[in-house]
Symmetry: C2
Subunit: 217 residues, 2 copies
């Protein structure tokens, strides 16, 4: 493992959090290979800090299943296979459908206003053909739905999946040729919120995620 010159200290945020995010990203991006041993001391040396926060990060990675620790032997990178990622799209789809359903039932007025605003930005960026901004607002749109589902676990899990898929996607600018198609799919979801039609929303979400999976190829 190569050293990094700069510290990862961010004021206010515990170091264990930073290390967790950093290592998770490295594993998902394949910089840390499955099977590879992850030594606490090496990680400490790399980031220039003590073992305490590193160990806390390890325990979190273990809980997410990205590393496997054998007592008194150490931690080993697990990582995601091609099929794991394929599966992840399916798992996300199943939850996203639930999120849309609950969000339509439970969304507050304020949340609805934010969702409307997000959708309007999507229209705007589609018109301007700004794919990278579209990618961002796309994520926000979905995150607003997660929040509006008013279920912390679902929200957390879907945010995690979003992160996983973002990190593992080979080409993050894959939206380029599909802006209008993507907009249309989101319009169907958004319309379902306006009409408070859960069935329509769930169907639209399912369709959208099937297409998203196909586009990511």
């Amino acid at each position: 493992m190569e050293k990094v010159s700069s510290s990862i200290r961010i004021t206010g945020q515990p170091l264990s959090e930073s290390i967790f995010i950093e290592l998770r990203s490295a594993i998902l991006r394949g910089k840390l290979r499955p099977g590879e041993k992850l030594s606490e001391q090496q990680v400490c040396d790399k980031f220039g800090l003590s073992r305490t926060p590193v160990r806390e990060a390890f325990r979190q990675l273990e809980l997410e299943g990205l590393i496997e620790t054998i007592p008194n032997r150490g931690a080993f990178v697990v990582g995601l296979s091609k099929r794991d990622i394929e599966d992840l799209y399916e798992m996300r789809k199943a939850y996203e459908i639930l999120a849309v359903k609950w969000a339509i039932e439970r969304i507050t007025k304020e949340e609805m206003e934010k969702l409307e605003e997000a959708y309007e930005f999507m229209e705007f960026y589609t018109m301007k053909k700004e794919a990278d901004k579209m990618l961002n607002i796309n994520m926000q749109f979905h995150n607003l739905i997660y929040k509006a589902s008013h279920n912390r676990m679902l929200e957390h899990t879907l945010s995690t999946y979003q992160f996983y898929l973002k990190e593992t996607e080979s080409n993050s600018a894959y939206l380029d040729g599909y802006l209008e198609e993507v907009l249309k799919e989101h319009k169907q979801i958004y319309d379902a919120f306006v009409e408070k039609d859960t069935e329509k929303g769930m169907a639209a979400a399912a369709m959208h995620l099937d297409n998203a999976k196909a586009r990511a190829k």
Copy 2:
């Protein structure tokens, strides 16, 4: 928080793991109330050990969303609302359907033999009307399916949900009057494995979990 007389040390297992499981259980069972402050020192005193393993357990609880930590202020119990638990049944159902689908597609010969054995135990215990043993083999049956899905994340999540629901269920002996009904539902799932019929399996799983939710009331 009251002290416990006995130590929770189990040879081979890190203490952080034991504390994690212990605290998680306490939160799910409502012994630790939502909003309550969870002091590191208090937990240390209670279990008679140092802060290092306690902190590691806290980080894991945080990741599962059962506590919320505010930097430099401490950890606060979050817990699950009635609706959270209701939702959990839906979330479990969505994943269980996926697990059955993938398991039917991916199950190995050895795994199939174990599943068959588990199902036969279910028949046996139903005949003998042993509800508590049935509860156990029931969990095993489902865990075998999780394993056979050959997706670690799905397996881990479903195991967690199983634990959550088991801990929060008001009456763990709720199977009592429903042994034959439950057996029938599992037979349908098991038959789908024998016939390698994913559609049938998914439908049977959906039905089973709807009924399980209704029975838990």
